[in-house]
């Protein structure tokens, strides 16, 4: 037996998606899947997709997240569902923790304590994390979960989306799916997996300072309402991209903020943080805590940089794996799609090439998760995270 991967992409009703997706997976896998990941547009409610998959695969672990764009191999769709299955030499376990906003520690503990510590004959452990970013504690949850799982568990994952509505993001396990929740998946394999990570953003502004904040809500920047400062600072760059920052309809504010995110200096690099929505009195709601006194720059990305960084993440995963890729899960920030438009599939193609043209499943996220034993932070934005499985 070896580790096998399969991917599928399908659109239409939930029934059509399940029928087409399962047919595609079965044709590639040739064995019962141990775990199926489902990333579903709000057009296919996540709970229904997970339940439909469980009907087809009653003994398979099914996990998933709502998404903001779906892709498989070299193809991207909207209002669709992406599936990725693993079978053969692998054992998978998952659990869900609720009440993320109230207590990221308790939610992470509820998920992690139901996972086995080890599995005989499968010594390598990889954690896949899916969470609701609208709870505003994405970094907090990731660090708590990483502490609980231990430094020998490599983490990768993504923050759920909702087709850029920025209102309801769900994650689920088997028949259960919820907002304000986190899903922890533990994959036990014979051989190590590898994670690649890269972003293509550069600073747009001079340093700015958060002067008033509470949790994930930034009230003022340099003493002024945060949203006013954001629009003002990104106005010229937005105009170059064909966006009028002063006449943004409310339903476009989220995508504007996801194009121009915050960059926190950390060594020679920038850690990117996404403001997800405009709150009361011109405040901004982020996907994780932003403490008062935080210094940051507003960042921007150009299309060529986005294509390059996607490839770089895939190449890094391939290099770290050190052998032929058998399949990969990809968590890719929705901002890349917003910036690239029709060129998004070009970035996907480059990733697919760099990953030995193995099956890829993934979705466009509101945040990405990658944390190795030497890392001290796990939540990212504007980033591509590639979790590669070896062909064994």
């Amino acid at each position: 037996m070896t580790l096998k991967s399969a991917s599928a992409l399908a659109a239409g009703s939930v029934e059509q998606v399940i029928k087409s997706g399962v047919t595609q997976l079965d044709a590639q896998l040739g064995t019962k899947p141990e775990v199926v990941f489902a990333f579903a547009s709000v057009a296919q409610p996540l709970g229904q997709v997970l339940a439909g998959l469980r009907q087809k695969y009653p003994r398979t672990l099914v996990v998933g997240a709502s998404s903001a764009g779906e892709f498989s191999n070299r193809e991207e769709m909207k209002s669709a569902t992406s599936l990725f299955a693993l079978g053969g030499d692998i054992e998978a376990h998952a659990a869900l923790g609720r009440g993320l906003k109230q207590s990221p520690e308790n939610a992470a503990r509820a998920a992690s304590e139901r996972l086995p510590k080890q599995v005989a004959g499968l010594p390598e452990q990889t954690g896949v994390v899916l969470l609701d970013p609208l709870a505003g504690v994405s970094e907090e949850s990731t660090l708590c979960l990483a502490s609980m799982l231990g430094e020998h568990v490599r983490l990768a994952g993504g923050a759920a989306g909702d087709d850029l509505k920025l209102q309801h993001c769900r994650v689920g396990v088997n028949e259960e799916s919820h907002e304000d929740a986190i899903v922890a998946v533990k994959l036990f394999t014979k051989h190590p997996t590898a994670v690649g990570i890269a972003h293509g953003h550069q600073p747009l502004t001079q340093p700015l300072e958060v002067t008033s904040a509470e949790g994930n809500v930034v009230h003022t920047i340099d003493g002024r309402p945060a949203w006013d400062v954001w629009r003002e600072q990104a106005r010229d760059a937005a105009r170059n991209a064909g966006i009028d920052a002063d006449r943004l309809p409310a339903d476009k504010e989220g995508s504007f903020l996801l194009r121009f995110e915050a960059g926190l200096a950390s060594g020679s690099a920038f850690k990117v943080r996404a403001p997800l929505s405009v709150g009361q009195n011109g405040s901004l709601n982020f996907a994780c805590g932003i403490p008062r006194g935080t210094s940051f720059r507003i960042m921007q990305g150009d299309p060529d940089g986005q294509v390059l960084s996607a490839r770089r993440a895939a190449e890094q995963a391939r290099e770290r794996l050190g052998r032929t890729v058998g399949g990969a899960l990809v968590f890719d920030c929705i901002c890349r799609n917003l910036i690239l438009g029709d060129r998004f599939v070009q970035a996907l193609g480059q990733m697919h090439d760099a990953l030995d043209k193995a099956p890829i499943g993934g979705f466009e996220t509101y945040g990405e998760i990658a944390l190795d034993s030497s890392d001290f932070s796990g939540f990212h934005n504007t980033t591509s995270v590639v979790l590669a499985f070896g062909k064994e």
Binding site: E140, L143, G267, P291, F376
Partner: protein, 74 residues
């Protein structure tokens, strides 16, 4: 092994940014009566312990840094 204040700050800067992390570590070390630019391992852990008591992301990132501090010496 002695470490600079900046090295200690680098453990939490990926979560809160460099400037905020440096300010937190410098203020905490000063409040604990630690003078000088370098801290012994026990002092580093004391600084992180105090920061870890703060609410929200700051406290969580310091608790995480403390739990993996030993990796720096490997």
């Amino acid at each position: 092994m002695a470490r600079s204040l900046h090295e200690v700050a680098a453990l939490i800067s990926p979560s809160v940014g460099e400037e905020k992390a440096r300010a937190l570590v410098a203020e905490t070390a000063q409040a604990l009566g630690m003078s000088g630019e370098r801290l012994e391992t026990e002092q580093c852990l004391q600084v992180l312990e105090v920061i870890a008591k703060q609410p929200g992301l700051v406290g969580i990132s310091a608790r995480f840094a403390k739990s993996r501090f030993h990796l720096l010496n490997e």
